[in-house]
């Protein structure tokens, strides 16, 4: 059987801001048609890692290859070209507030394709229908709920039919029903169009529902603590921390940050 093509390859990556290293020695690959999760506690650097992968920030060390092309060592024009081949949805949707929902979705089509106005309108209508937002073309982003904004952001990310999508906390702030609907949408995208999806999240139900493979980031070691099928890791992980995290259990051995926080609290309260 032919092995699936590698779509995203992260090699020896260290990320951070200035002299602050947030994560180091990160290695993983995402195969074609896979739903891949980046997991970890709050503040571990999941979103930061994603922002480095999609080329918003230069890494401190290492390389990121998307569709076989380096995002780190390529000229700006090549990077822009690569960026157009994948879509990104952000935590809050990141819709442009001065444009209607329809204009948001049509923006990449108007800029990067030679489609006529009618063809663009039809494509916008279809993309919005795909995310259950029919008839919202003329609404302003401020008129949408949080979940609708995320879905509209997804419609915009899918406008150019990318074969790779990145999601930053897709379920954060959504009610359980909307969250399940979004999970089903992701699965539908993968199953119907073969889209490769990378999700950054700490919403365990969504992770178990959607992802094939996850990496778990550890705040203390600043690197990957575990990698594999989340359902297997939940049962078989040798790491107690990973086991606690995936089973939503209280950690018996609190991490250093928690210890420090407790210590600071006891100083502040004079205990």
């Amino acid at each position: 059987m032919k092995e699936a093509e590698t779509i995203v390859q992260v090699e020896n990556l260290s990320v951070g801001y200035g002299k602050t290293v947030i994560l180091e020695n990160i290695n993983f690959s995402v195969k074609s048609g896979e739903i891949f999760g980046i997991l970890g506690g709050s503040g571990v650097g999941k979103s930061t890692l994603l922002k480095h992968i999609i080329g918003l920030y230069p890494p401190l060390k290492g390389d990121i290859k998307i569709f076989g092309c380096s995002m780190v060592n390529c000229p700006d024009w090549k990077k822009d070209e690569l960026m157009r081949r994948f879509g990104v949805t952000y935590q809050g949707g990141a819709l442009f507030g001065s444009m209607t929902v329809g204009e948001n979705v049509s923006l990449p089509l108007e800029t990067y394709t030679d489609l006529t106005k009618d063809e663009i309108a039809e494509r916008v209508r279809k993309k919005l229908a795909l995310v259950d937002l029919q008839g919202t073309e003329e609404l302003m982003p401020a008129e949408l709920s949080g979940g609708m904004k995320k879905r509209a952001g997804l419609a915009r990310a899918m406008a150019l039919d990318p074969s790779l999508l990145f999601f930053d906390e897709p379920s954060a702030g959504l009610d359980p029903i909307t969250s399940v609907e979004l999970d089903r949408l992701l699965l539908r995208l993968r199953n119907k169009f073969g889209t490769t999806i990378v999700i950054v999240s700490h919403e365990l139900p969504s992770i178990f529902e959607t992802t094939d493979t996850v990496i778990m980031l550890d705040k203390n070691t600043k690197t990957i603590a575990a990698e594999g099928d989340p359902k297997e890791l939940r049962v078989n992980s040798p790491s107690p921390w990973v086991h606690h995290f995936l089973n939503r259990e209280e950690n018996d051995a609190p991490d250093d940050n928690l210890k420090n926080m407790k210590q600071e609290f006891s100083y502040a309260s004079g205990k």
């Binding site: 922002k51 999609i54 157009r84 879509g87 990104v88 990141a94």
Partner: protein
């Protein structure tokens, strides 16, 4: 426990100077990078004019131009009245009432018209640009633009700058006429001048080039306001306080640079004999 050393005021002063220099150097570095990105964006738009967001430009033209017109006319008219009073008081001492037209005309057309319009535009447009871009940064809209392969500078700055380059000179022309009208009001009501004599004197001494000099200043001021406003927006930290600071900084930096540019241009004009 070891006692901490007493603060040395001289060391402290040098420390503060060093930190301030560091901030200024970082600011300058950012400005140079921003100008570089802006130049690339302009080049791309010249090569592919379709990339220019014409709709956005028209929006900003309305916001910075037509919406600012009432306040510009009002302030410039009052400025003309104030100048008229001041010149009238001095001119009356030497019986040279007619020179009120000269004083108000030159002051408004060469200095105060462009300057007042620039200050109004800084308060209205420069601060709005910084707040808008800063808020877009908070909402990750700038990141979204980048990942869609757009240059945020080309997408956001160029339409604003073009709108300002069109709106500011027009506002200056209208503001100049409002200022002249203010001087005219004082001339005929306080100084006992006839409307015809005031207008004749104004037409005699004020040349089209006098107004053109002020309008030319307006182009420089418009560039400063748009670029500094947008740059401060991009420099904004991704929180509400950061946006507030960026907006304040946009106004303060723009006014400072406008005054510096005004001084330089005035000196150049005098060297060229205007």
């Amino acid at each position: 426990m070891e006692k901490s050393a007493a603060p040395n005021p001289i060391v402290d002063m040098f420390d503060k100077i060093g930190k301030a220099a560091d901030v200024i150097a970082a600011d300058f570095y950012f400005f140079v990078c921003f100008l570089g990105e802006f130049a690339v964006a302009v080049k791309q738009i010249i090569r592919h004019p379709r990339k220019l967001r014409l709709k956005d430009m028209l929006y900003y033209l309305d916001m910075c131009g037509s919406q600012a017109m009432p306040i510009v006319l009002c302030i410039c008219y009052l400025m003309g009245v104030i100048l008229g009073f001041q010149f009238a008081l001095q001119a009356r001492k030497v019986g040279a009432e007619i020179y009120v037209a000269d004083g108000v005309g030159f002051s408004i057309l060469k200095e105060l018209g462009p300057f007042m319009v620039a200050i109004i535009c800084t308060g209205r447009a420069g601060s709005a640009f910084a707040a808008e871009i800063g808020t877009m940064k908070v909402n990750e809209e700038i990141s979204a633009l980048q990942t869609m392969g757009f240059s945020p500078v080309g997408f956001l700055v160029v339409p604003k700058l073009l709108a300002m380059l069109i709106a500011t000179p027009l506002l200056i022309v209208f503001g100049d006429f409002a200022g002249l009208a203010g001087g005219f009001t004082v001339g005929i009501t306080m100084m006992g001048l006839t409307p015809v004599s005031y207008i004749d004197r104004s037409l005699e001494v004020l040349l089209p080039s006098t107004m053109a000099m002020g309008v030319l200043k307006g182009l420089v001021f418009a560039t400063i306001i748009a670029l500094i406003g947008c740059m401060r927006g991009f420099q904004s930290k991704s929180d509400a306080q950061g946006v507030g600071r960026a907006t304040t900084s946009a106004v303060v930096s723009s006014i400072f640079l406008i005054v510096v540019a005004d001084a330089v241009l005035t000196r150049l004009y005098t060297l060229w004999g205007y």
